[in-house]
């Protein structure tokens, strides 16, 4: 079995699967259950400053969207940071860490943007024996209205300022959790890096309304006929999270900044994808909230099997392996030509490829009276839509037209050498090819 041990900003854990700061990590009872189930670490649910406890709504906190058979695809929440007394949380963190020294216990924090507030809380967290802190600059609901959470994460200067305070007030590693509710994720990551953050974690949740009650004309989840946007998470947000993680990993400024990948991790494969795009570990919430803590066992066995099959000896050895292949559009090879190929043996004759291509693409698929579907090479632009709408995996594939062969659509022979937009004659800013 592959070695799944993980070391992230110096914090060791038996596997790279941490529970994200969220309801599952709000108290000792849950965290002990999580560790018994096999989770490598937890980020304790966000603590606020000492004082009257946080107040949550007393109606629904969650909303969801579903796929087939009510499979939960996306979850939205309006829960705030922990509503339990600070001292109680600190006592419990200390107790758990003492009993689970091999697991990662990181504490998420969110206090007002004044230096004293951070100077006050960091030492008491450090006293618990916790392995590190995560600065919650991500939550987009409720706390952001009070100038915290994503209200900080949306202003790189604030991130830099608060991160500096934190670094100056503790010897623990500082992870900065980023909000995706921003136009360019690289900027807040750079700010965290400049301020000396040990790592960033992302994504936090995305502003969302899951649905609208059409009888009451009110957004869901709804409290007494009113709704406020919540934070969206779960499998539906994974593609957004993957892209943002890759942006930070590709950015030369932050290329060496460790990343804790978050956003819709549901299976070992999701985790492996985050890791391949530069995440040193992953954090999970919605999968645990949907299926319970036991899901981590599939993640552990699956990641191990994949690493064994591929000969990857450690998690660290695959971190960022896909980053060199993350490109910009302008650098994609325009001389790479492919065509759709339909396996007649696998085709079940549903005709979805035909409808999609005929109605919405390039009229490159024909349909015969006996429902045989075939690709017209002189029309096919290899858009891949037929592959995506086909219900049979691998029934339609893309086949490369080898260099030297005719592309029937353009009437030209496919050229051997790489050529991208930067050298294309239609590009006004074209750099002449040497």
């Amino acid at each position: 079995m592959a070695d799944l041990r993980s070391e992230f900003v110096g914090i060791k854990s038996p596997n790279p699967f941490w529970l994200a700061s969220a309801p599952p990590t709000d108290k000792e009872y849950n965290v002990r259950r999580a560790f018994k189930a096999g989770w490598g670490g937890v980020v304790w649910k966000t603590l606020g400053e000492e004082g009257p406890p946080i107040v949550n709504v007393n109606g629904p906190r969650y909303g969801a969207i579903f796929g087939a058979d009510r499979r939960l695809l996306g979850l939205n929440n309006i829960e705030l940071i922990t509503d339990r007394p600070l001292q109680q949380n600190l006592r419990e963190i200390k107790a758990v860490k003492k009993d689970y020294p091999d697991r990662a216990v990181v504490v998420s924090l969110m206090v007002p943007c004044v230096e004293d507030a951070w100077k006050a809380i960091l030492p008491v967290v450090e006293d618990t024996g916790a392995d590190g802190v995560e600065l919650n600059f991500g939550c987009p609901h409720g706390m952001s209205e009070r100038g915290m959470g994503s209200a900080v994460g949306q202003v790189p200067e604030y991130i830099e300022m608060v991160t500096r305070w934190a670094k100056q007030s503790t010897r623990m590693p500082v992870i900065v959790k980023l909000t995706p509710n921003i136009s360019d994720i690289r900027k807040p990551a750079e700010a965290a890096h400049i301020a000396g953050a040990d790592a960033v974690s992302l994504i936090n949740t995305i502003n969302s309304i899951t649905s609208v009650n059409l009888d009451l004309f009110a957004p869901e989840p709804m409290i007494d006929t009113k709704g406020a946007h919540g934070g969206y998470c779960g499998p539906a947000v994974k593609p957004i999270a993957l892209s943002m993680v890759s942006e930070i990993a590709r950015n030369p400024v932050t290329a060496n900044l460790p990343i804790s990948g978050i956003g819709g991790v549901t299976t070992w494969r999701d985790a492996a994808e985050f890791i391949a795009l530069g995440a040193g570990n992953v954090q999970v919430c919605t999968a645990a909230m949907t299926y319970g803590f036991k899901v981590v066992q599939e993640m552990i066995s699956g990641l191990g099997q994949w690493m064994d099959e591929k000969g990857h000896e450690s998690v660290a050895s695959v971190v960022g392996r896909a980053i060199p292949n993350c490109s910009d559009w302008q650098n994609l090879n325009l001389n790479y030509v492919s065509k759709a190929r339909i396996s007649q043996d696998d085709c079940i004759k549903c005709g979805r490829c035909f409808a999609a291509c005929e109605d919405t693409s390039h009229q490159a698929i024909t349909m015969s009276a006996d429902r045989t579907f075939e690709v017209l090479d002189d029309e096919c632009v290899a858009c891949n839509l037929c592959v995506n709408v086909c219900p049979v995996e691998n029934c339609i594939t893309m086949e490369r037209i080898e260099p030297g062969k005719l592309d029937e659509r353009t009437g030209e022979f496919v050229e051997e050498e790489f050529a991208d937009w930067t050298t294309h004659p239609n590009n006004p800013g074209c750099v002449a090819a040497e």
Binding site: A68, C350, R371
Partner: protein
Amino acid sequence: MANTVNTKGVVAGRLDAEALADNFSDLHPPLDDHEALVAADRCYFCHDAPCTTACPTSIDIPLFIRQIATGTAEAAAKTIFDQNILGGMCARVCPTETLCEEVCVREVAEGKPVLIGKLQRYATDTVMGLGLHPFTRAAETGKSVAVVGAGPAGLAAAHRLATQGHSVVVYDARPKGGGLNEFGIAAYKSVDGFAQAEVEWLLQIGGIEMQYGQALGDHISLENLKVAHDAVFLGVGLGGVNALRAEGGNKDGVYDAVDFISELRQTDDLTALHVGRQVVVIGGGMTAIDAAVQSKLLGAQDVTVAYRRDRSAMGASQFEQDLATSKGVRIIFNAQPVKVHGNGSVTGVEFERTDSSGDDLKPTGETFIINADQVLKAIGQTLKMDAGLELVRGKIVVSADGKTSMDTVWAGGDCSLGGDDLTVTAVAEGRDAAMDIHATLMGKGHKDG
């Protein structure tokens, strides 16, 4: 002690009321809301879908399933009823395994079709359960059409004609409507009086007068109907039964399967129905299976279906055959009856083996006897009418639009030539004939009505 499955002869009460009620409950219990969503989600929404092509009434199946999937079963039902006003009954009795579900791409690919029939029932039950009738009549045209036969063809024709604004009078020989839906199909396919409920629901369109107890040839004549109405639609079905060409076929204990089924459908008390201990059903169609299965469910000890050809030629679908065998019915092939034994009452049926491997059915000379105290004949039905219409193979010749050889007379359903003798086919023929009648009565250009 009352009778049991071991009691000899044709007797009532072999099973108690509770066991009978259980045996004759719904063959396919309806889908609940969640099951319907899950089933609907399996539909691929095929382009130019094979299921729609296979449906004799051309229901837009992918559309209605998508409407169920998006929580609008009422819209789904409208999609169904637009093409098939008896979509509720067809959802129950259609041999979907040889129609829409047979060609479902998921059946072809996985052997598990989308549950089209059950989904259709879900949609139609929803709307009929709410008492909604999503059709309104066009303005009165002043035209009058006679519909003879209140079975699927006649009802479909009557509804479509009424929708177009014509006044319709439906004549039927029986005391109530529904035709074979009411009198001819197995009880477990249409429980809780669904056939009558459907007739009542269909009549909500208005403009349809029902005249029961009016048999063509006895109480009414085609000539008079032609005079009294602007057009006549004949959907009289096949009232006659073929004779058993075997010696002794008139002994006590030999029954027509259609009468057996009809009696069963009309009874209020299943414990009062008589059934043999050893039942032999002769035939190979749906009626044979329905009669055999119901004999077994009434408590017959041994039930055998004997069919003179091989399995591949059997009219009953594989699903129906499997249903029968799962209930304990034995099906034997290549056996044709030659003699009914017994001194007054039936004691057995003598069969001769046949060879159906060639074009002709050849008797082999080998015979055997199956003990029986009841014989149910399900060997086909015949048209019981001769009103001067052109017939071929005993059925009324019609055009693609259901027009007969006689002016102002149309026909459809089992009595007309062409198409399978299925409820759904009858509905399609009645509907299409109605549209042709409409176009004819209103002049060209009205066909799309």
